[in-house]
Amino acid sequence: MKAKRRVVTSADRTTARSKRTPTVRRQKSAIVSGSPAATRAAPVTPPGSRRAGDGPGPGLGADASAVDLTVDLAPAHGGLRLANPILVASGTFGYGIEYGDVVDVARLGAICCKGTTLKPRIGNVPPRVTETPGGMLNSIGLQNPGVDAVVEKYAPLWQAWRTPVLVNVAGESIADYVEVVRRLDGVPGIAGIELNISCPNVGKGGIQFAIDADAAGAVTAAVRRATDLPLLVKLSPNVADVRPIARAIADAGADALTAVNTLSGIAVAVDRRRPLLGNVFGGVSGPAIKPIALRVVYEVCQVVDIPVVGIGGITSLDDVLDYLAVGAVAVQVGTAVFADPTLPARLVDELALAAAHAGHSSYRSFIGTALPRKPAAGSAKGVEYRP
C-alpha cells in the first residue's frame, strides 16, 4: 500500500508492517481472539530497515513508556489535557459505549461523540452509508436524541471515565448552537465542545457556517461567550480557501481547530435509476480523502497559532506521522475504526515506540517537521498551486 517509510519501529514490525502483509494467511495457526493484528503472519523485514533493538542507533535503549504523549488542546483557556494525541472522530464512535469490550476506551486520547442538536433528530432516509473507492459515503443526517437526553443518559457514564469526552455540537442557527452549549456547560463528564459547523445556517439562507468566514467567526464568538468549556471548531474541506475561515474562528476565541469534516459527494444506485443515498448527498471519508485533509491541515497550521487536530483517512502510524509533520498536534481516527476498532489504541503504542526509537522524549518532536521553515508570505500562492 505505502511505499514510503520514515520511521521504522518494532511496532512497524508487528503491526504497521502488516499493512502490506495480507490479513489472510496461507499458513495455519492457532485461532485467537483479540486484536487481529496479533494473529497476522510474521512479516518479513525489508532490506535496509532497522529492527527495534538491532544494532546501535538513536533509539538504542529507548523506552516507549517514558515518551511523553500528553497534549493540551486548549492551552490558552483552562486547558484540555489529553493522555495522548489519538482521538476517535465524531459519528464513528457513537457515545463511546457501543464497542463494548472490543475497545478499551481508557486508552484513547479523547472521544468525540455523535453530533448533538437541541432537539432530537430522526436523521435521513436510508440507505445512509455505502462504500466508495478507498472510502465511504455517509448521510446520517445528524440523527441524535437531543442535548438533554445526551446529558441525562451519557454524561454520568463519561464522568466515571478518565478519557475526556468532547461533545460534537450541531445546529441550524447561532441561537441553536448557543443553547446546546449552555446546556452542556458545567455538566460533569463533559470535557469540551467540538463545534460541527458544516450545517446549513437557516438564518443565512441555508449556507453552511463552515464555508463563510463571517458566519464561522460569529458562531464561534457566540459559543465562546456562552461557555468556559474547551472549544474546538471543526473545519469543512468543501471550501475554496480554508485559511480566512480558520483565521476568523481562531480570532473569535476557539481553543483549537479540528480538520476536516467529510467531503461532499454522491453515489449512484446499482440500477442507475437514482442516487444511492436516501438523502442523495453524503460525506466522503476514509483513506481517499487523506491528501485533501492533509493539505487543509498544512494550510491552516500556517495561519493560526492555536492547536490543530488532523482528521481524514488515518489507517496507520504513517498517516498519524504525516499529520503531525504538517503541524497537527493530535489526530482523530474515524472511518478506519469500522474496519479495525482496535486501531486507535494500537496507534498510541506505535506512536510512543516511534518517538522512542527516534530518540525523542516527546512525540511533539514529530510536529511541524514538514512545514515551510518561514511562514509562507500571505501571497496568492495558495491559489496558484491549486489546479
Binding site: K19, P22, D101, V129, F338
Partner: protein, 286 residues
C-alpha cells in the same frame, strides 16, 4: 461481541454464484443464536474499507465451525470467494438480536426468499434440536437457484416455489403461506424487501382470518412490551430479518436504520436484524 480470527476450512460454490464457507471460530460457534450475524473484514490489500455483514448460516459448538452462505454481488463478496483453506480473516460477532421462539410454539413456519435462506437456516437447526416441527417455504427465480435439500436437516418439511415454475409451485413463495398460517404457531422470514412486506400484510390479517386467541394471552395479559424487547418479538406471529447497508455494525454510526411504526429509527445492527413484523413501518414514514 468479540473480534475473532476465523480460519477458512472449506469454501464451495453450492449454486451458481452462491458460496458456502466454513470457518473455524470456536468463540463464535458457541453462544451465537439464529438471526445473529458477523461483520467480516476483507484483507488490507483488498482495497475494501468497510466490513461486510453475513448471517450465521450454521454453527457447530462441538467442532467450533461456523458457516456463512452468500451470493457474489459486488467487490466484497467476490473478494471472499478467493479465500483458500487456511486463510484467516477477522470477524466481529456475534452481532444483533436473534429470533425469539416462544417456548410453547410447536410449529414453526420459515419463509426464505433467495439468499434469505442464509438468514433462517440456523433457526431450522435450533428448532429441530428443540423438538419443534419446521416447514421451510423457499422461493427463487428458477430451479437453478433452489437451495439443495441435502443441506437441510431431514426433519424439515421443504416446500419450493419458483417464479418461472421450473420447480415446485409456479409463483411467489408468499402464495404458499396461507396454506400454513393456521398450522404455524410462529413464522420467521428473511428475503427481499417486497417479500417481507407482503408477509407482514398477511400476518397482520391472520388473526382476523383465523379468529385465534393472541399468543401469550395467559402470561401477562394486557401488559405492553416495549418495542424491540425480546418479549415483543417472541409474542409476534411473524419475525423478519432485515437488511441495511452498514458501517460499524455495533450501533455506533446510525448508518443502518429502518423506520419503526413508533416513528423512531431502529438500528438493524443493534435493535435488529430481527424485528417483529409489526414493529416495522413498511411504507417508510420519514
Amino acid at each position: 461481541m468479540r473480534l475473532v480470527a476465523a480460519e477458512l476450512v472449506d469454501s464451495r460454490e453450492i449454486l451458481p454464484g452462491q458460496w458456502l464457507q466454513s470457518f473455524h471460530a470456536p468463540a463464535l460457534a458457541s453462544g451465537s443464536r439464529a438471526g445473529q450475524f458477523v461483520h467480516v473484514r476483507a484483507g488490507d490489500w483488498s482495497g475494501l474499507i468497510l466490513r461486510r455483514p453475513f448471517s450465521f448460516n450454521t454453527v457447530d459448538a462441538a467442532t467450533g465451525i461456523i458457516t456463512i452462505h452468500f451470493r457474489t454481488v459486488g467487490r466484497g463478496t467476490d473478494w471472499f470467494t478467493r479465500l483458500r483453506a487456511g486463510d484467516t480473516i477477522d470477524m466481529l460477532g456475534p452481532l444483533g438480536r436473534p429470533f425469539e421462539v416462544d417456548s410453547r410454539s410447536r410449529h414453526l413456519l420459515l419463509v426464505a426468499g433467495g439468499l434469505g435462506i442464509a438468514g433462517v437456516r440456523m433457526l431450522a437447526d435450533e428448532a429441530v434440536r428443540d423438538g419443534r416441527q419446521v416447514v421451510l417455504l423457499f422461493g427463487a427465480a428458477n430451479a437453478r437457484d433452489v437451495y439443495p435439500s441435502s443441506l437441510l436437516p431431514d426433519e424439515v418439511e421443504y416446500v419450493v416455489a419458483t417464479d418461472d415454475g421450473s420447480l415446485g409451485h409456479h409463483g411467489f413463495v408468499t402464495e404458499l403461506v396461507p396454506a400454513y398460517e393456521a398450522w404455524a404457531d410462529q413464522a420467521f422470514a428473511c428475503g427481499p424487501g417486497p417479500m417481507l412486506r407482503a408477509l407482514a400484510t398477511l400476518a397482520a390479517g391472520r388473526r382476523g382470518r383465523l379468529g385465534v386467541a393472541r399468543l401469550g394471552r395467559k402470561r401477562g395479559a394486557g401488559k405492553v412490551d416495549p418495542p424491540g424487547s425480546p418479549h415483543a418479538r417472541r409474542k409476534a406471529f411473524l419475525q423478519v430479518s432485515m437488511e441495511q447497508n452498514m458501517g460499524c455494525a455495533v450501533g455506533a454510526c446510525l448508518g443502518c436504520v429502518v423506520m419503526s411504526t413508533g416513528g423512531t429509527p431502529q438500528r438493524v445492527c443493534r435493535e435488529g436484524p430481527v424485528f417483529a413484523s409489526e414493529e416495522i413501518a413498511w411504507e417508510a414514514g420519514w
